[in-house]
């Protein structure tokens, strides 16, 4: 009896129980930044990998993923102050792919800030992307928070400029996983110098949010879930009270805490990657805080893809993962523990077991 009532109540009050993981429509009041009363939210979409086939034909699945994320993000109410796009609009850096992706992203209601991904970069070294979208590293202040965007997918000049017969070959090589001919991502000396100067004018008690395509931490080198000079970038961020790094590239949920820096990854709208820990050929450094998603159902092409709705309160990030055909998740900063935790599935007993029937 009580079970029945509970279930009925759950169905009816589903919104209250899952509000944090679904659309907090009309209910979001995010206390954020230093100035009281300046509440705001933003959305984050990443890794669409729009792929040109020929003529006006593009891979349908990746188009649909981005179209759906844009449509869903447009339902956020109140409107987010802006939307971030986390990189890899394109699959092989082609102008057609960037144009097609930007056309779909043009459907977003609101200002979009862009991050450079390696799939946008290694064909023409980001020329077309920059022509359309501007600089690949920049910063701005918004309602008491300092936002920084880095291009973290650069690599050694020699690899970039001297190793490959064609630009297309260079793009293909950088797109491969476990590539012995590959090269690690890095922010590089010039951008780190720029970052150092940029941060000099920012108060240490100002919350800082950094966007990069690759994680500014070292997880799995073979897939470039990695930034080679991560420690040097982290050192520049260390003096600040509250720092969050949000990255794309990994197509899965990851979160971690290193000192004062919280790390959050974003889902792809295109496809999910497996977790390095399930990929047993190589040692993995997947952060221990991460609760891995249940295995995707391959029938539902959107399963284990998605996008993010982000609350920053008291300067820390709560990531709401919007996961079509799956259970939405929220990874929130736990002020007592001093690190981000999955609000529902952190305890092993609460996790959704992977599917086993195929």
């Amino acid at each position: 009896m009580s079970k029945t009532i509970n279930r009925r109540e759950f169905l009816k009050r589903g919104s209250a129980l899952v509000a944090a993981g679904s659309l907090p429509l009309s209910l979001v009041e995010v206390a954020f930044g230093k100035a009281a009363g300046e509440n705001f939210t933003f959305a984050y979409i990443s890794d669409s990998h729009i792929t040109h086939v020929k003529g006006s034909e593009f891979v349908r699945n990746w188009d649909r993923g981005l179209i759906r994320a844009v449509a869903e993000a447009n339902l956020l109410d109140p409107r987010p102050d802006f939307i971030f796009y986390g990189g890899d609009i394109a699959q092989l850096g082609k102008a057609e792919e960037i144009d097609h992706g930007l056309e779909i992203l043009g459907g977003l209601n609101g200002k979009v800030h862009y991050v450079m991904g390696e799939h946008d970069y290694y064909l023409d070294l980001g020329d077309y992307w920059k022509k359309q979208l501007g600089p690949d590293h920049y910063s701005f202040d918004h309602k008491g928070v300092h936002f920084v965007v880095l291009n973290s997918i650069l690599t050694f000049d020699d690899w970039t400029n001297n190793k490959w017969p064609t630009a297309a070959e260079r793009m293909h090589q950088m797109a491969r996983l476990d590539n012995p001919q590959g090269s690690p991502f890095m922010v590089g000396d010039a951008q780190r110098e720029w970052l150092k100067t940029d941060l000099e004018k920012v108060g240490k008690d100002t919350p800082v949010v950094v966007f990069s395509h690759s994680p500014i931490q070292k997880i799995h080198k073979g897939w470039n879930f990695w930034t080679d000079d991560a420690e040097q970038v982290q050192a520049l961020l260390k003096p600040f009270d509250k720092v969050t790094v949000i990255y794309g590239h990994v197509h899965q949920i990851q979160y971690n805490q290193i000192g004062n820096i919280s790390f959050h990854s974003a889902m792809a709208t295109a496809w999910p990657w497996p977790y390095p820990s399930t990929y047993t050929q190589v040692q993995t450094w997947l952060p221990k805080l991460t609760v891995e998603m249940n295995r995707a159902d391959p029938f539902f092409e959107r399963d284990a893809t998605g996008w993010q709705f982000i609350n920053l309160h008291t300067g820390n990030v709560d990531m709401s993962y919007m996961l079509p055909d799956n259970s939405n998740r929220v990874v929130a900063f736990d002020t007592r523990a001093g690190k981000p935790v999955d609000t529902k599935y952190q305890a092993v007993a609460n996790r959704i077991p992977p599917q086993t029937h195929y």
């Binding site: 169905l11 679904s22 659309l23 429509l25 009309s26 699945n61 339902l75 539902f300 092409e301 998605g306």
Partner: protein
């Protein structure tokens, strides 16, 4: 006479026990809630309530008005007609095998048949009663009901509750189960001749190129032909296309202000298209509706939550074009990742329809041939 024989058989199945008695071929035992066990008297009472048109505002609408046994427990209308001919927004789903559903209504807003059965009598475009008390007044004054409720629930006339009414109707509905279709006899009964050659080819398409089985599931020992989940397959979105944001915001505002979801989704066409979102407010479920069973699909036309597809041929075309009737129609931005163009040939489409016609149970076979 024929009908009562069917009921008696079903009653025998259920009353003897909930988990051990064999269900019709191809179906699992009917799940029965612990707080509402099946009894013959309760089922009979539910039958009477189910068919009682007095329990509506104009005295002409009962459960069976829209869920008519002679029409595969549907009404064969695009959207159902309530009292005074008022229409809602949704196509009447069949009651056949609703006993197996883990949520009720197209958007799953009720968890069981008990909860479901309480809504239509007081919906302003269905039964039209202002409240449950109006229904109970009629029941409490009817000597037959008084006798039956005392026997079944031990309740005096004044104590007859809407929950008891709902329990009786749900018990009756749990007897409306039907398997033993040509497909069941072919797949579970081991009779290779039970389906035609076209149906056998259609079955292969159903589990293969047609991708149907991923949502309309078939298991090793039984088949409910549903995953009890919610998907946006591209039906009905055009009326809110480009206005999803304002429609969702307006809906949530009304809901916060106390609006009844059951009333809102049946009376406001735009908000109806929000689908499962109306219940969960999860924006990944905008336009998602429950996967219906396909059992007896050949006798429950028209199809989809809005009754927008008239024939099984149209349904197959709709899926074949990736969530649209014509391949020139727009596709919903919120389309499920499971829906994509199938590239079925014309003969394949015919075979798939033939297979869907193999899902009709013997009780309803005569309706299919009409």
């Amino acid at each position: 006479m024929q009908r009562s024989l069917v009921w008696l058989t079903s009653i025998a199945l259920l009353v003897a026990g909930t988990a051990t008695v064999a269900a019709p071929l191809g179906l699992p035992p009917v799940p029965v809630p612990a707080d509402n066990p099946q009894t013959a008297a309760k089922i009979k009472l539910g039958d009477k309530l189910y068919h009682d048109t007095r329990l509506s505002a104009d005295g002409k609408v009962s459960c069976s008005t829209c869920h008519d046994e002679a029409k595969g427990f549907t009404d064969h209308l695009q959207v159902s007609k309530g009292f005074n001919g008022l229409t809602g927004t949704r196509n009447a789903p069949t009651v056949i095998n609703a006993a197996y559903m883990t949520t009720l209504f197209w958007d799953g807003r009720e968890p069981d048949l008990e909860g479901q059965s309480k809504q239509p009598p007081i919906n302003p475009v269905e039964g039209g009663l202002a409240n449950h008390d109006m229904l109970l007044e009629i029941v409490r004054q009817d000597p037959e009901y008084i006798k039956a409720f005392r026997e079944v629930f031990g309740a005096d006339a004044a104590d007859i509750s809407i929950d008891d009414v709902a329990r009786a109707i749900a018990s009756f509905e749990r007897t409306i189960v039907a398997g033993d279709s040509p497909f069941d006899r072919y797949f579970y009964g081991g009779d290779p001749k039970a389906m035609t050659e076209a149906q056998v080819r259609g079955f292969a398409l159903y589990t293969g190129k047609g991708r149907c089985v991923s949502c309309h599931r078939i298991e090793q020992t039984q088949a409910l032909f549903t995953d009890n989940r919610f998907h946006n397959i591209g039906v009905g979105f055009k009326s809110i296309q480009g206005k999803e944001d304002e429609t969702a915001a307006a809906f949530v505002k009304e809901k916060r202000a106390g609006a009844n979801v059951d009333v809102t989704v049946l009376t406001q066409a735009n908000m109806s298209e929000l689908g499962r979102f109306a219940v969960t407010e999860n924006i990944t479920q905008v336009g998602a509706f429950k996967t219906p069973t396909l059992r007896n699909i050949a006798v429950t036309e028209p199809y989809m939550h809005d009754g927008s597809l008239k024939t099984l041929e149209e349904v197959v075309d709709f899926y074949n074009n990736g969530g649209r009737l014509k391949d020139t129609d727009p596709v919903s931005d919120f389309l499920s990742g499971g829906i994509r163009p199938l590239k079925l040939t014309d003969p394949e489409k015919k075979d798939l329809v033939a297979f869907l016609q193999a899902l009709t149970s013997p009780e309803y076979a005569a309706q299919a041939s009409k």
